[in-house]
């Protein structure tokens, strides 16, 4: 394994960078899109069930199919990383919009009433009261989305773009374990580090959760 790494550190390093970019950009985009969508489902409760059903179906489309189809729908180039980014953004939105809604719904009605009584308008109340209280639930969803994106990126290697997944197909075509093992280990490590970072950020920005 060491030998393989020594000879291929450039490839492995590139794969790692590509992997990070392909996995994390969708988390960011997905988060930004999911916030208003999740809020919508809370503001208009009748939308909650239809929306969650749509998310469920989106989530069950196999990633490979989505990777292949997006160029047809978006008119992007077949090898463009945009296809992977958009596909994973869809999964992230499907997962996060629901958690955002659940998080906002978990806010105690008494707290909301208190804030209203103190003169908070809807928007300000949302930003400075409801969202912070919902944060632990939302961040738990963000952890799931980040970790599953990191493991999903590698499926892209079946169509020639896929970060560390390239090491899987490379090793597989030669029946050669080393690159596959390195790819799996790095992918798991990457997920663990990303997860840890979110946990640390969560601790820093929600100090009140530790008091209780």
């Amino acid at each position: 394994m060491i030998e393989y790494l020594r000879n291929n550190h450039v490839i492995v390093w590139q794969a790692l960078q590509e992997h990070l970019y392909l996995a994390l950009l969708p988390v960011l985009l997905g988060f930004v899109i999911a916030l208003p969508l999740g809020y919508l489902a809370v503001r208009f409760p009748r939308l909650y069930h239809p929306l969650t059903n749509v998310y469920g179906i989106l989530y069950s489309i196999p990633s490979l199919a989505l990777f292949v189809f997006l160029p047809v729908i978006l008119g992007t180039k077949v090898l463009s990383p945009i296809n992977i980014v958009v596909a994973l953004t869809i999964y992230t939105v499907a997962l996060l919009a629901r958690t955002v809604a659940d998080g906002l719904r978990s806010v105690d009605a008494v707290v909301v009433q208190a804030a209203t009584a103190m003169g908070y308008r809807r928007t300000r109340r949302l930003i400075s009261v409801e969202l912070p209280i919902a944060l632990p639930v939302i961040l738990a969803g963000l952890r799931v989305a980040t970790v599953s994106n990191i493991s999903l990126v590698s499926v892209g290697s079946l169509i020639g773009i896929g970060g560390l997944g390239q090491l899987f197909t490379r090793g597989f075509q030669l029946f050669y374990m080393e690159p596959i093992l390195i790819g799996v280990i790095l992918s798991v490590l990457l997920a663990a580090i990303a997860d840890l970072i979110i946990v640390l950020v969560q601790r820093a920005i929600t100090p009140w959760t530790r008091v209780a």
Binding site: K77, P81, I82, L158, Q173, L174
Partner: protein, 302 residues
Amino acid sequence: MKRITAAFAGLAMSLSLTACGADSDPLAEAPAAAGTVTVGSANFPESQLLGEIYAQALEAKGVTVTRKFNIGAREVYLKALQDGSISLLPEYNGALLAALSPNGVPAGVSSPDAVLAELKKVLPAGTEVLTQSAAEDKDTLTVSAETAAKHNLKTLDDLKAVAPTLVAGGGPEFSERQQGLKGLKEVYGVEFKEYKSLDPGGPLTVGALKDGTIQVANLFSTDSSIVTNKFVPLEDPKNLFLSENIIPLIRTEANNATVTGALDGVSGKLTTENLTSYLAQVQVDKKDIAVVAKAFLSENGL
């Protein structure tokens, strides 16, 4: 000398102009800089080895190279070449000709030169092929030594009688190509009991042939596993499978005198024998493709 430099500068400028105009999407990877060649490859080791040899040969001449290997089957990577995602590929003249000839390859075309002449007529706009090498890697139908002995198989003609009892396997694309099941039926009257989609000349197909899951495999003639496992490639007396010389396929806009020079150098040194032995270093000794490509270039003075 001055004229050449001026020509280069002009070329570089026109390249950089097209590169900037072609792709304005902010998410896409940085637009290819002037003189950058993006080398692609199919999803099997030989194609990646050849792609890497091309890439290193270009780098040795100072060309900036981006690698996008392991894209998929021809049906997929040709699309990537046409939309500009990649600009250079190692190809096989016969298979490429067949893929680009919707009405079939004209009768009587099978020698390397005839194939090349036909190929030049059907290339997609904006692409060209450079000098072809002597190295050939043909599609074969291959059986195990036992199957060959049991049914007394030497050529594809012998296969017709027993085919309905045999299961064949190979890449998914083989089942739908003219240089595949379609042609086998038309030219030799061979129809198998079943065709299993595995991988193009990869470990799945070799493994399935070895353990008897399939009795006939679509393997490539340079595959070292044929010799290692004493497999028997069946002869093709009616030339269903065309000559398959390795040839660089390039987008015209990415080509220039330096690129042509570097790739011609490679094609001049490639032979079926040395390709087979370098490929064995990758497949059998599990040496890294980049290391083997480097060895090829330095051992051949490139």
